[in-house]
C-alpha cells in the first residue's frame, strides 16, 4: 500500500505512531502500536479509529482531536489527567499509562 511505504521510517520508532485522515480512517499503524495494542497493522489500516477506541468519541477528546484534523494546533494529552487514551495493557494486565500528542501531518503526494 502506497501510504504505508512512505511512512516506513516511523516503524523504527520506540513511540507508537498512528496516522489517520480527517474522517479518522487509519492510514498507518506502526510496529510499536501493534505490540502495545495486540492489533496488526493489516487489521487496523482502513478502520475508523474511533470505532476501535470508542472513548476517543467523547467530548473531552473528540473536540480537541477534531480541531487538529482541521489544521488546528497540536493537542497534548498528559498521563496525570488521562492516564491512558488507548486501552493498552502492560504484560502484568494493568493499564498502560500514555502521553499522547496529536499533530497535523503535512504531506506532498507525487502523482
Amino acid at each position: 500500500m502506497k501510504e504505508i511505504t512512505c511512512f516506513n521510517v516511523l516503524q523504527t520508532l520506540s513511540d507508537g505512531v498512528c496516522i489517520v485522515d480527517k474522517d479518522y480512517k487509519i492510514l498507518f499503524w506502526n510496529k510499536k502500536l501493534e505490540q502495545w495494542s495486540q492489533k496488526n497493522q493489516s487489521a487496523c489500516v482502513g478502520e475508523i479509529l474511533t470505532k476501535l477506541y470508542p472513548q476517543l468519541n467523547t467530548v473531552a477528546y473528540k473536540t480537541r482531536i477534531d480541531q487538529v484534523l482541521h489544521n488546528g494546533p497540536p493537542a497534548f494529552f498528559s498521563m496525570l489527567l488521562h492516564h491512558h487514551l488507548f486501552d493498552f495493557k502492560k504484560p502484568d494486565g494493568s493499564d498502560q499509562a500514555q502521553r499522547v500528542t496529536v499533530a497535523p501531518l503535512k504531506m506532498v503526494m507525487k502523482h
Partner: protein
C-alpha cells in the same frame, strides 16, 4: 523602535476573541476534568520586547511557561505563564490530589503542558477560525523560569500582547498570564484578517 499601539476597535476585537476563546477552553477543560470550570481572559495590554524580557528574564520569580510557535498569516509565539503558587493549586485541583512539593515531576509538567495547550489552542483556533487564514503550529514547549533560553522572547521589534487568564475551578481561583508575540510586520495582517473575518 516605535512603541507599539493598537486602536480602540482592535483592542475591543481582541477582547471579544479572548472571550470566545475562554468559552471554548472552559468547555474542553470542564468536560475533561468533570468539574465546574470558569475561565476569564482580561486586562489585555500591549508591551514591547524589552518589557517582556524584563517580565521573564530579569525576574526572580519561579514560574512555568507553556509556549508554542506559529507561522502563516501571523508569525510569532504564544505562551501561558503560571506562577509557582498557581501551578501547585492548579494541578492539585485538576487531579484532586495533593502534590508533595514544588519539585515538578514529569507527570506535573505534562499536566501543565496540557492545560497550557488547551488555553493556547483555544486562542489560536479562535483567531484562525475567525480570519479563515491558515497558520502552521509547532509542538508546545514547556520551560521552567528562570531558564537560560526563552522560546517566547524574539526580535526587538516584535509586538507583545499580554492578558490575565483567571481559572475558577471548584471554587478555587488560579491566575496565569497569556503572552502573544507577533512579528512587527504580521501585526497589521493579523488585525486585517480578523476584521475581514468579523465582517463576513
Amino acid at each position: 523602535m516605535l512603541k507599539p499601539s493598537i486602536s480602540k476597535y482592535e483592542q475591543d476585537l481582541l477582547q471579544q476573541m479572548f472571550k470566545f476563546a475562554a468559552d471554548r477552553a472552559e468547555d474542553v477543560l470542564a468536560a475533561m476534568v468533570e468539574q465546574t470550570v470558569n475561565i476569564k481572559i482580561s486586562d489585555m495590554q500591549l508591551i514591547d520586547t524589552p518589557s517582556l524580557q524584563t517580565l521573564l528574564v530579569d525576574t526572580d520569580v519561579q514560574a512555568s511557561l507553556v509556549c508554542m510557535r506559529f507561522e502563516g498569516m501571523m508569525t510569532g509565539a504564544i505562551a501561558l505563564l503560571f506562577p509557582q503558587d498557581s501551578t501547585k493549586v492548579l494541578i492539585n485541583t485538576l487531579t484532586q490530589s495533593s502534590m508533595r512539593s514544588y519539585e515538578m515531576d514529569v507527570f506535573c509538567m505534562g499536566t501543565l503542558t496540557e492545560v497550557g495547550n488547551i488555553i493556547i489552542n483555544a486562542v489560536m483556533s479562535q483567531f484562525s477560525d475567525t480570519s479563515l487564514e491558515h497558520v502552521s503550529f509547532n509542538l508546545p514547549d514547556y520551560v521552567e523560569i528562570p531558564a537560560p533560553h526563552y522560546p517566547i522572547v524574539g526580535d526587538i521589534n516584535n509586538v507583545v500582547m499580554t492578558a490575565k487568564v483567571g481559572f475558577n475551578i471548584s471554587g478555587l481561583h488560579i491566575s496565569s498570564l497569556l503572552i502573544i508575540q507577533l512579528t512587527a510586520d504580521s501585526l497589521s495582517s493579523f488585525f486585517s484578517a480578523l476584521q475581514a473575518g468579523v465582517r463576513r
